[in-house]
Symmetry: C2
């Protein structure tokens, strides 16, 4: 068995110790005589698993006591619908659009707002600039009476990240943030948000799980057309178990949380992620063979899109990378080029191997 | 490691060869250099996995060409909402209630029907009889103009199964059946249904996956308040990949489908399941220590609830069973007593061990 350095944007590489433990426990979890996949979600074994997962996540993110943690299904895409169902409340919601994912969220809110008896409003967009940076303060027209203000704090496809609290829009309405592709990569001040959510398949665990952290005063506002299983209050009241949750995904996520704590938590992860990103960006910035077009202050530490200035080398670049054990580097079809997703589970050595390969490839073809 | 005989109603026991293969492939699937959990859902490896899973499922269930197979999230409970969203179309839907699960489906349809601009109608119920049998023809008042007729063909909690086509209600409207707890346990004539659906965590694989098989003329009828990710047509058009599907659960389900084919398919499984159920029912019927109150023609082969006539022995029965490696036999809290769920992955030896234990326990305490 040879493990590659897997730069997939998601589902993405997971820490090897997590996978080894999951494999070892597949047929028998802690002497239970069966694996986690085979356990009743209401039994004492799985109760211990989900309770520890929540406690570890709360500690990692320093979640305040007045926020609830929900383990849900359907991915961020289902949240795009669930958010207006739960939070629109017959009003108008503001959306900031800084890339493909925040645009999808806005489009879904537009699709649903009228049938739900409300409105979704575009409060700012960098689409005309090619989604290559965060919004500037003077580009946002915020509604102080909005039900909420939605943003995506890391755009997986365009490589734009809202990394520091100072980059958050000035607003008193509840902020709702899609953090799918950078959650747990750095500390975050949860109290600045009404709700944060993240599909698991980048920095948390397997796909099929989405995590919602929501301030408790935002529960109980769902409109009548909301399915019970999509009502945050119903799920909060039932401990995310109105029905059977995605138990195995929650278990693997819990192993990832334990691994993150063993690494030193989010401050330690931030230092490692900053070093990894700097290694690649510094190389890109000194290269005339490669190009990254995201403004420096808006650059993501997790998803780094780059172009070969001569795109005729793209196929050879990918073939050579694959042969060197560097996989999933092809950029999203909507932007072309390449993309290196370097989530928590990607070690510095993986990024170093990528930079070595890129330098060598450029020397051969430049 | 000692594996128990696990009688959990779900998440439930999986075939041991499936779990062994999943464990072996956890870090490296077929030389890909990463595990299935870490793969892009749009790459060639996962595409091969999902395509084979669908092909195997189609072969097992003999799915006609004019039906689509969808791999979705949210469990049967989310389908309880998704079905009226997609199929009500401003009309009225009929619901047959024969146990907890069909009642939940009906309640959710009632919850949503008015906001969606339609109606959900109770077309028959055995609740007054204690959910101990199927509905008789003269107990159903069917609306020939209904948008659809919903039923649950195996009630996991009450142990009532609609097993043969002759037990289906006479109706020309699209039949929609929740088959969560007996799908793949016996052949089924899919063409009799407009749609069948099943949460995976009983006879298919891990929780977090729900399978929908829907006739293609029923696609494209969703009301405007339907989230995109819950619109059957959108999901059918995108090959269940509007967003990231629950990839690992689909992979394990695919391994289960391969295992089922290796066992001889659904006709062979039906013979084994009939033998397993007969072993337990025959014992129950000759015992005056235990009791099963479901009418014989309505009895489930998958979920067999039973009572100790003297309930003061319940705790001792469960403790002794656990010590004998027979787990998860406690009945659902709503009905009490015991329940043995004996899905495809439960071998005949497991049922024989249970009957031996029950006989011995009765001899000691009877």
């Amino acid at each position: 068995m040879t493990r590659v350095f897997n730069f997939s944007a998601g589902p993405a590489a997971l820490p090897e110790p997590v996978l080894r433990q999951a494999a070892e426990e597949m047929l028998d979890w802690h002497g239970a005589g069966c694996g986690v996949m085979e356990m009743s979600h209401r039994g004492k074994e799985f109760t211990a698993i989900i309770e520890r997962a929540e406690a570890d996540l709360r500690e990692l993110l320093a979640v305040p006591a007045n926020y609830r943690v929900l383990f849900l299904q359907g991915g961020a895409t289902q949240q795009f619908a669930q958010i207006p169902m739960n939070l629109l409340g017959g009003g108008s919601a503001d959306y900031l659009v800084t890339g493909t994912w925040s645009k999808k969220a806005y489009n879904e809110a537009q699709h649903l707002a009228a049938p739900l008896g409300g409105r979704a409003r575009l409060a700012g967009s960098t689409e005309a600039a090619g989604f290559n940076r965060l919004l500037r303060a003077d580009e946002m027209q915020l509604d102080p009476g909005a039900s909420y203000l939605h943003l995506c704090s890391n755009e997986t496809i365009h490589g734009v990240e809202l990394g520091t609290p100072g980059q958050l829009p000035e607003s008193r309405v509840p902020l709702v943030a899609d953090m799918s592709s950078h959650i747990l990569s750095r500390p975050v001040d949860v109290s600045r948000f009404g709700m944060i959510y993240a599909g698991a398949q980048k920095n948390i665990g397997p796909s099929g799980l989405v995590i919602v952290v929501i301030r408790d005063d935002l529960l109980g506002r769902a409109v009548p057309a909301t399915p019970s299983v999509m009502d945050y209050k119903v799920m909060a009241d039932s401990g995310s178990m109105l029905n059977t949750p995605p138990t195995y995904a929650i278990y693997v996520a819990g192993l990832v949380f334990q691994w993150l704590r063993a690494q030193g938590g989010l401050a330690a992860m931030e230092a490692r992620n900053a070093a990894k990103a700097a290694l690649l960006y510094d190389f890109l910035d000194t290269s005339d063979f490669y190009d990254n077009r995201v403004e420096p202050a808006s650059r993501s530490r997790m998803n780094i899109p780059f172009l070969l200035r001569d795109e005729s080398f793209n196929a050879a670049f990918l073939t050579g990378a694959q042969a060197a054990g560097l996989t999933q580097l092809k950029g999203h079809k909507s932007v072309g080029g390449m993309r290196a997703s370097i989530y928590n589970a990607m070690p510095l050595e993986g990024v170093a191997a990528l930079v070595d390969y890129m330098r060598e490839f450029a020397a051969r073809h430049g």
